[in-house]
Structure formats: structure tokens, C-alpha cells
């Protein structure tokens, strides 16, 4: 026996998903708008709920536990919200300044390692030691990094050896773009496969999937033939 709640979750989810796929028809449609507004509305609601929970669990519970200094988080947070009112928006500047300063501190103190020093360290690799495979890997990486970086120098005249180096860098970059394109496609395909798989396991869902696909497709073509697609779609 199928649980009625689960059944309704499947039917609504599958129908709205197919509505969202209708954007691939190439014309704006009320079906897509329905799915889009549903997602925006419920997801915004969820974001608010989860943020309030975080504020409660970290802030309120922390203060109750004697960590009174966290009350500044609330004062600054509420002051930040004042930016929506032009009359009081100046009150939001101080909290924005304080949080921005802290965030910059957090990123500057670590990025210099993760994004710069460590990357240089990892690029310093032996070019004449190790197996043939290691050597091929090391040489390729070394050449790619050097030439690609030289493509990204902008405050010097590009001529002579730097011009050649930048040109090689650009070609190497296109070679890597092919590989990265394939990886990106793998990811997006995985998302698509996953989202359809959601509607095929367990097997009782399969007929519903096929029915939803058919209904949305027929509705889309019918609306198009009746010239109603544009008329029923909301303006931006």
C-alpha cells in the first residue's frame, strides 16, 4: 500500500518538475512560471526559517548559557536591517563595516596560503626524478602553469618571448577547457539523471512520471496552438 502523503509528494513534485522542464520548449509559459514562483516562494521561506534557527541556536542559547557578549550580534544584526529604510540607513553602516572588516580578516589571513603560497609550493616539482609517468605529469603541469600564468600579465607590453609564451598559454588553456567542459557536462548530466531518478525509484512512481510528462507536453503544445502561452505568462 502506498502511503498517501508520499503519493502526494510524488505527484506534486513530479508535475512541477515537468513544468520547469517546459522552459526547454523555447517559449515562456505559465507552467514554468508556476514552478518558478513555487520554488522561489518556498525556498525563500526555508532560508528565513533556517537563518532564524541559526540565530536562535547560536545566539539566544549562547546568551542563556552566560555568553552575554553575543548580544552584540543581535544589536548589529538588527541595525543592519535598517538599511532598507532610507531615513535610518546610516545606522546600518557601522555593523556593515564591522562585519566586513572581520570577513576580510578571515579571508586575507588564509587565502594567502590556500590560494598563493601552497599553490606555488605544489608547483615546485622535480623534472628529472621519478618514473616516466611522473615525469610526463610533472613536465606537463609545469609547462601549463607557467605559460598560462604568462597569458594573464596585463601591465607589460606583450612582445617577443612573452608574446609567444602568452600565445602558447592561450592554446594550452583551450586544451584544458575541452577537458573541463566534459567534467562540467558530467556534473550537469548527473544532476539531471538524479532529478529524474527521484521519480523512478521505487517502481510505483514510474507511471506517474510518464503521465506528468505527457500532461505537461500536451498542455504546452495546446496552449501554444491556441496562442495562449504569451497571454498567460507573467511579465517580468
Amino acid at each position: 500500500m502506498i502511503d498517501p502523503v508520499e503519493f502526494s509528494i510524488m505527484v506534486v513534485g513530479c508535475f512541477l518538475s515537468m513544468c520547469m522542464f517546459s522552459t526547454l520548449y523555447g517559449k515562456s509559459s505559465p507552467l514554468y512560471a508556476l514552478a518558478e514562483e513555487s520554488y522561489i516562494g518556498f525556498a525563500t521561506g526555508l532560508t528565513i526559517v533556517m537563518n532564524l534557527m541559526y540565530i536562535y541556536n547560536t545566539g539566544v542559547v549562547g546568551i542563556q548559557g552566560g555568553d552575554w557578549i553575543l548580544i552584540f550580534g543581535f544589536i548589529l544584526g538588527i541595525a543592519t536591517l535598517l538599511r532598507i529604510n532610507p531615513k535610518y540607513s546610516y545606522l546600518s553602516r557601522l555593523p556593515i563595516a564591522i562585519t566586513l572588516g572581520a570577513q576580510l580578516g578571515l579571508s586575507l589571513r588564509t587565502q594567502i596560503y590556500t590560494g598563493f603560497i601552497d599553490q606555488i609550493k605544489a608547483s615546485i616539482i622535480p623534472l628529472f626524478e621519478g618514473s616516466a609517468k611522473t615525469l610526463i605529469y610533472n613536465w606537463t603541469t609545469f609547462i601549463c602553469v607557467i605559460f598560462m600564468l604568462s597569458f594573464f600579465l596585463y601591465t607589460i607590453e606583450i612582445k617577443g618571448p612573452i608574446k609567444l609564451s602568452a600565445k602558447i598559454g592561450e592554446y594550452l588553456m583551450y586544451a584544458s577547457f575541452g577537458a573541463i567542459f566534459a567534467q562540467t557536462f558530467m556534473g550537469r548530466l548527473g544532476l539531471f539523471v538524479g532529478s529524474i531518478q527521484n521519480f523512478t525509484v521505487p517502481p510505483w512512481k514510474k507511471p506517474i512520471l510518464i503521465a506528468c510528462m505527457a500532461i505537461v507536453l500536451v498542455a504546452l503544445i495546446a496552449l501554444d496552438k491556441l496562442n495562449l502561452l504569451e497571454k498567460l505568462t507573467p511579465e517580468e
Binding site: 513534485g13 512560471a33 540565530i55 572588516g101 576580510l104 586575507l108 590560494g115 598563493f116 599553490q119
Partner: protein, 207 residues
């Protein structure tokens, strides 16, 4: 004038409080720094509540103007309120649970899954051997696609070359972007700290 300088000083001080104890061992400052980071986390969570304001402002604007399809915006605003009401009934069961799994989860995945279609049509249109750059692009793309299909491995082993492409060309491009973007972001951060980007603080440049 005063307000701007005050903001800049506050920003620089909070920067130092977070930045310095990471490098120099001052236990008292370290404790304060940790608290400031937690306060920042709470404050930043508040700013996300601005989302509700911007959605409702836009929604009401639509209702006032009543353009074609304004009823969709009314529906959207109702769903926000519904989700908030659902949450009051508990997060594990009931209507909140239903909205999570019937609406948010499937639509979130379809939203990004659609990109696979755009990538496929791009591939069909653009992967043509027009010049040296596109030949390089097709060559590596073609090999990677073949390698990534798990079934290919059952016939012939493209593993070595697929892994080679990902771990050399792919890695180098990733690393080059990382270095370049890191330095860019750091310089921009310093510009903010030096008061060169007042727009970021919500201050207009004429002030």
C-alpha cells in the same frame, strides 16, 4: 564626513582583531577575536532576512501595477508565508516536511539539471574543427567524454589518458585561476580597507 571615517576605523579595527591573532600569539586577543567571529556569523545571518523584504517589496509592486500575470506574485508571497507557518508546526513532520520534499527538493534539482541540456546543445553547435583552438578543445573534450562514460572502461582502458588530462591540463588551469583570483580578491580587499571602495559600505562617493 564623520560617519564615513568612523565606519572605516571600525572596519580596520575589526579586521586587525581577526587578522593579527592568526599570526601573533596573544591569548587575550585570540579569545576576543573568536567572539567577534561568532558575532559576525550572527550578524550576517540577519542580513539574509533582507530576502523577505526584497521579495515582498517586489511582489507588492506588482500587485499595485497589476501587469499581466500579477496573480503569480501573489501566489509567491503566499507560499513564503505558508512556509513560515508550516515551520511553526515542527520541522520533522507534517506540512513543513511535505513542502520540503514535494516542492523545494525536486525543483532545486531540476533547476540546475536543465543546464545539461544547454551544454548538450552548445556541444552540438560549437564543437566543430574551425581553427587550432577549437581543434584542441574538441580533442580533449572528446577524449574526456569517452573516458567519463563508465561503460567505456569495460572495452578499452582510457583511464591513463583521461586521468592525465584531468590531473595536468585541468589541474593547471584550475591552479592558474586560483592564484590569479586570489591575488585579485586580496587586492580588492585591501582597497576596501584603505577606504577606496565606499560603495561597498553603502556610502556614496560624494560624501
Amino acid at each position: 564626513m564623520k560617519s564615513r571615517e568612523l565606519s572605516l576605523i571600525a572596519m580596520f579595527l575589526s579586521f586587525l582583531v581577526v587578522f593579527v591573532p592568526y599570526f601573533i600569539d596573544v591569548p587575550a586577543l585570540d579569545t576576543f577575536s573568536t567572539k567577534l567571529i561568532t558575532i559576525t556569523a550572527i550578524t550576517v545571518s540577519f542580513t539574509l532576512l533582507l530576502a523577505i523584504h526584497s521579495q515582498f517589496k517586489r511582489g507588492f509592486d506588482f500587485v499595485r501595477r497589476k501587469p499581466r500575470g500579477w496573480i503569480f506574485k501573489v501566489y509567491m508571497m503566499i507560499t513564503i508565508v505558508l512556509m513560515l507557518l508550516f515551520a511553526l508546526g515542527g520541522l520533522e513532520t507534517g506540512s513543513y516536511h511535505w513542502a520540503m520534499y514535494a516542492i523545494i527538493t525536486p525543483l532545486s534539482s531540476v533547476n540546475y539539471g536543465i543546464l545539461a541540456f544547454y551544454l548538450a546543445s552548445t556541444c552540438a553547435r560549437a564543437f566543430k574543427a574551425r581553427n587550432t583552438k577549437s581543434i584542441l578543445l574538441i580533442l580533449t573534450g572528446f577524449i574526456m567524454l569517452l573516458y567519463q562514460a563508465p561503460f567505456t572502461g569495460a572495452f578499452f582502458d582510457l583511464g591513463p589518458i583521461g586521468i592525465y588530462l584531468a590531473n595536468t591540463f585541468g589541474l593547471a588551469a584550475g591552479r592558474m585561476f586560483l592564484i590569479s583570483v586570489t591575488v585579485g580578491a586580496m587586492v580588492f580587499g585591501i582597497r576596501i580597507l584603505l577606504g577606496q571602495e565606499p560603495g561597498v559600505l553603502g556610502i556614496r562617493s560624494e560624501e
